[in-house]
Subunit: 159 residues, 2 copies
C-alpha cells in the first residue's frame, strides 16, 4: 500500500511525517545522532538493502535533514552528516526511545544518557517554558495558533 502524501495537510505533525517520511528514516537519524556517518556502517547496523538505504539517504538529503560530504578525493568517499534541521529531530527520537523503554524493553533500556553539563545520569523531561513545571497531555490545553485554518475539536474550541 502506497503511503499518501501529507504535504497538503495543515498540521505540523503531518508535515513532520511528510519530511521524515518513513520509519527507516528515523532509524537512520537515530544512528546518525549516535555518530554513524558512513554508508556501509548504516547498512550493517540497519540490515537493509543498499538500494533502500541509498533511497532513504537521498530523500533525507533532499529534505535538508542530512548533507552528503566528500571527505576524500582519491578514491572519492562521501559521508552523511546531520544538518541543524536533522539534529533538531533529537527530541522526537528521544521521546520515542523513552516510550519504547517504558513499554517494550523488558530487559531494561538498551541506552541511557548522561548530561555532560551536570555530569549525572539523566533523562530529558518535558517542562513548561514559563514556570518550569513538569508537563504532560493532562495539563496542556491546545488552542488555535496564528497558522490555524480550522477549529480544533473536543473541549478546545476556538473562542
Amino acid at each position: 500500500m502506497e503511503r499518501k502524501s501529507f504535504a497538503e495537510m495543515h498540521c505540523s505533525i503531518a508535515q513532520c511525517l511528510e519530511i521524515v517520511g518513513e520509519w527507516w528514516s528515523m532509524l537512520i537519524v537515530r544512528d546518525a545522532l549516535l555518530g554513524v556517518c558512513n554508508f556501509d556502517q548504516f547498512q550493517r547496523r540497519l540490515g537493509i538493502s543498499r538500494n533502500i538505504l541509498a533511497l532513504r539517504l537521498s530523500r533525507l538529503v533532499e529534505a535538508g535533514v542530512m548533507t552528503k560530504v566528500l571527505y576524500s578525493e582519491r578514491p572519492p568517499r562521501f559521508e552523511y552528516r546531520l544538518t541543524e534541521k536533522g539534529r533538531d529531530l533529537w527530541p522526537i527520537v528521544t521521546a520515542m526511545r523513552q516510550w519504547g523503554d517504558r513499554y517494550a524493553a523488558p530487559g531494561g533500556p538498551p541506552l541511557v544518557l548522561r548530561h555532560t553539563e551536570c555530569g549525572r545520569m539523566s533523562e530529558p523531561v518535558f517542562t513548561c517554558s514559563n514556570c518550569g513545571g513538569k508537563v504532560d497531555a493532562e495539563v496542556m490545553d491546545a488552542l488555535p495558533g496564528p497558522g490555524a485554518v480550522e477549529p480544533l475539536v473536543g473541549r478546545w474550541q476556538p473562542a
Copy 2:
C-alpha cells in the same frame, strides 16, 4: 513496498516504531489527544478510507494504545479512547509538532498550548531530570544501558 517488522531489533525506538506502526497511526493518536473518539469524526478529519481507518484503529487497540468502548447499547455504538500507553505518546506527538512548526509552518503554528497550572502560553522544553537545565543532542552522552546487547558507535563506546 511492504514495511519490514522491527520487532526483533534491540532498540526502544524501533520497538516504538513497530507498535505505533504507521504514519496514519500517529495522526489518529494526535486527533485522539485532541478529543476525537468517534469513528466518523476520525474519518472526516483524516480523509482516509473507512477500510484503512478501521485497520489502523484495530491495530492500535491490539497494541494496547486505544480501547474500543461500547457507549450505547441500542443502537450499539462504540468510541475509541486512548489508554495510558496511548496518552504516553503525547511527548512524541509534541516533539513532532515542534519540529514541524519550526521547519514547515510558514504561516505560523496551527496550534499553541497553554499550561493550565501556571495559566500561561507554553511550549514543552526538554530539561535534565537532575539539574533542570535545558538539554539537546549536544549535551547528552549516550551510554549502554542495562538492556544493551551491542556496543554503541562513534565516541560513545562502552567502557
